[in-house]
């Protein structure tokens, strides 16, 4: 399987996910199914799936304390330690995790290999490369803000933080089309960041030969799904308007557990909703679980204090090892000859096998 097959497979899969609601609502008018049943089912899969997955991870113990140390350890008072990249206790670990989760600290270290040959001998450089970090950060934060902005549709009255976010997010006061006005609302920065970030993440998978080689359909599929989700959202907001009052009736209903599927919402909304449902239902079974996994990662969430705070392995078991007695039995004569101290003296004795 090569990248073309991977992309085709993912592209077709996402296209089908567009067609299903298009036919289901557009032609068959299955509003209750697509507006209520599918979202609820997806949410159930999402929450149950995540809990099952995380519990599955948590069920396996952490037998050894194996942090990747990324700075000077704590040793003498006169040597400056790095309490964040090489934490000595819980406090440092918490800060390290905050950096990791909120700022993608490890990804920030990224460099790019530059391999050249000069007169036949290798010249290796490690170049500045923060684009992946930047795109990842842009995408994740844009997604978060967009999600929070959506609370405008989830609850009534609209919470204050939503207004604030909308104001900040729209501060450019720019139209979606060059001629300001034309009836399109102001552009949200996060809408652009999300699409730009996703596009970059997709393009680099194609463009960088190594990343192209390692990419699976499971990498393209969520990217396409998220792009579809973002694009349908953008279309709805700026170009193909839907009946917002009816949408809100449906979404608030979902959140209040008194769902209704009102008439007159454009099919584009159902496509958006179905893609979201697909995304969250897919979530627990996919690499997207990295969002929960990062918190459990033993190379990041443990302190480097094994030499001064004991770590217990819950399944530790005694092992057989070659004892000193067995060793001396084998080599006693030679040890005595060499003047090495022995425990038992020259005559050989029995009963010195392996120790449990």
């Amino acid at each position: 399987m090569n990248f073309i097959v991977s992309i085709l497979f993912s592209g077709i899969a996402v296209s089908i996910l567009v067609l299903i609601p298009l036919i289901g609502v557009g032609a068959l008018d299955l509003r209750v199914f697509f507006g209520i049943v599918v979202p609820y089912a997806a949410m159930a899969v999402f929450f149950i799936g995540i809990v099952v997955r995380v519990l599955g991870w948590a069920r396996s113990p952490v037998p050894f304390r194996i942090p990747t140390t990324a700075g000077q350890e704590w040793s003498f008072p006169w040597i400056k330690s790095n309490p964040i990249d090489n934490p000595k206790g819980m406090g440092g670990v918490i800060v390290r995790m905050i950096f990791e989760v909120l700022l993608f600290r490890s990804l920030f270290r990224n460099t790019r290999l530059e391999y050249k040959r000069v007169d036949g001998s290798p010249r290796i450089n490690y170049e500045w490369e923060k684009w992946l970090w930047l795109a990842a950060l842009a995408f994740h934060y844009a997604f978060l803000v967009i999600f929070l902005r959506h609370f405008r549709f989830f609850v009534e009255p609209i919470p204050g933080f939503v207004h604030l976010l909308e104001k900040l997010d729209g501060f450019l006061q720019m139209g979606a089309v060059p001629l300001a006005g034309l009836g399109t609302p102001g552009v949200y920065i996060t809408d652009m960041l999300l699409l730009a970030g996703l596009t970059y993440l997709f393009v680099r998978r194609l463009y960088i030969s190594q990343i192209r080689y390692i990419s699976l359909p499971a990498d393209y599929f969520p990217l396409f799904l998220l792009l579809g989700l973002g694009l349908t959202g953008v279309l709805m907001r700026y170009f193909i308007r839907v009946d917002i009052t009816a949408v809100k009736e449906l979404t608030v209903g979902l959140f209040k557990f008194s769902p209704t599927a009102p008439e007159g919402i454009g099919v584009i909304f159902y496509i958006h909703l179905f893609m979201l449902s697909a995304l969250i239902a897919y979530f627990p079974f996919s690499k997207l679980m990295h969002f929960a996994g990062v918190f459990l990662s033993p190379t990041r969430n443990l302190a480097n204090n094994n030499r001064f705070v004991r770590h217990v392995n819950p399944w530790n078991y005694p092992v057989k090892f070659h004892t000193y007695a067995a060793y001396e039995d084998e080599f006693r004569d030679r040890m005595i000859e060499a003047g090495l101290p022995v425990e038992k003296g020259a005559e050989p004795t029995a009963d010195t096998s392996e120790k449990e």
């Binding site: 040597i79 090489n86 290798p122 699976l216 990041r300 101290p341």
Partner: protein, 542 residues
Amino acid sequence: MADTPKPEETAKIDHSPPLMKGWMDTPVEIKPGIFCYGGKPKNLEAVDMPYPKDWSPADDDWQLPDDWKEIIDEGINDRLGKFRSLKLFMDICVRCGACADKCHFFIGSGDPKNMPVLRAELIRSVYRKKHTVGGKLFGKFAGARELDEGVLKEWWYYLYQCTECRRCSLYCPYGIDTAEITIFGRELTNLLGLNTDWIAAPVANCNRTGNHLGIQPHAYKDMLDFFTDEIEDVTGLRMDPDYNRKGAEILFVTPSGDVFADPGTYTAMGYLMLFYYLKSMGLDITWSTYASEGGNFGYFTSHEMAKRLNAKMYAEAERLGVKWILGGECGHMWRVVNQYMDTFNGPADFLEEPVSPITGTRFENAKTTKMVHIVEFTADLIKNNKLKLDKSRNDHLKVTFHDSCNPARGMGFLEEPRYVIKNVCNNFYEMPPNTIREQTFCCGSGAGLNAGENMELRMRGGLPRANAVKYVHEKFGVNMLACICAIDRAVFPELMDYWVPEVDVTGIHELVANALVFEGEKKRTTDLRAEPLPGMEDEEDV
């Protein structure tokens, strides 16, 4: 043994993987010069490992037991239940590729399956087939595949092309650690009797004779006696170490490689000299022939084997009745001591919290393990002005320091060695920042890959390190590569010869011993290698 290609040939590296053919459709090709020989049956039998056999990785038939797939399945299930790291690392990789060009083996070989992400995917793909919904439903399209002999061989080939150096894990946004994957993978291959002999033989030796090289007690003493003679030639003083002595305060454990082969031997001489120097100041230390190995090739076999070999240190400390253990300069030994030893074989209640008998410093960071790194021990001596040092005796050297992967990324032991070097040498130059400290590059021969038959692999894997040495060699005239790892000392000379001739290799305690000024010693005209000290030769002739 395959002929190692010339550096100009080796340097022709293409880092672009094939465009149209996916990795799953590219079967493994087991190449001479890259793989290590298969473990010999006697070495597996010596430590009761399953399925010993005479085999070669180049054979078509690997003599697998009939139920080998079930054995691997069970092996995976068992480990998924025991290690959260494994379970998590199988599930959460997003293939962002941040690790891809961080691996020294990928940089040096261009073989795409040496990208850490792909090394892990080799195993993940099989895991997905059995353990994930997507893998069961969509097979290849979900990145899943069946385990077959080709896949097993591919695992083996690439698992024994990883030095567990953890450089990739530093850059991974989720901390996925290829060392963990490799450790598990190698455990699985060992369930089928598929170790390399360069790992299996040291394990068998270490189990029986106490050290990897199979040095028997009398021979071990002979080696150290020989060093004593050598030191006497240089200093006029006789060191007289003692062995297996009950009631000593401190037990000293160091990798046996330094007792056996240059230039590690000079580091071992350095230890002897330091201990002699401190004797009159109250150091009461003994060497052990039974626990005469700090390194742990068991760690390259399985967690259990690591624990079996490691157990000897505490057992010997208890038998001799010492108060604490001092450990020599070694890489993976310190990963094991720092991150596993107490958990494996502790608590060492019979020992005491380490206190330096010379300075009174309490090593609080070694409170439970009760094991102190000799470089921190020496750093503390220097800080407290307990050593009389003549730095100019190392003036003929321009030194750079290689952070060994394990003390760097499995401990964070970065400043202590630099502090010691700067106090015993006048000329110290750092390699570029992307190649040292936590970002350091492996020597390319760690984790049991320091054999002879895989020389091409070693030269390729060592290229990034060598390239950084070359940089300081050309820029500052660096002629000495210092390190705190016995494998480094064993493998760097060949690597330097290959890529950066004219750079020698040393342990830190060789530099310390060169600089150490003894009372009553004769005028030093040579360093420990019996090479003349500049400015001193004439005086000898007088």
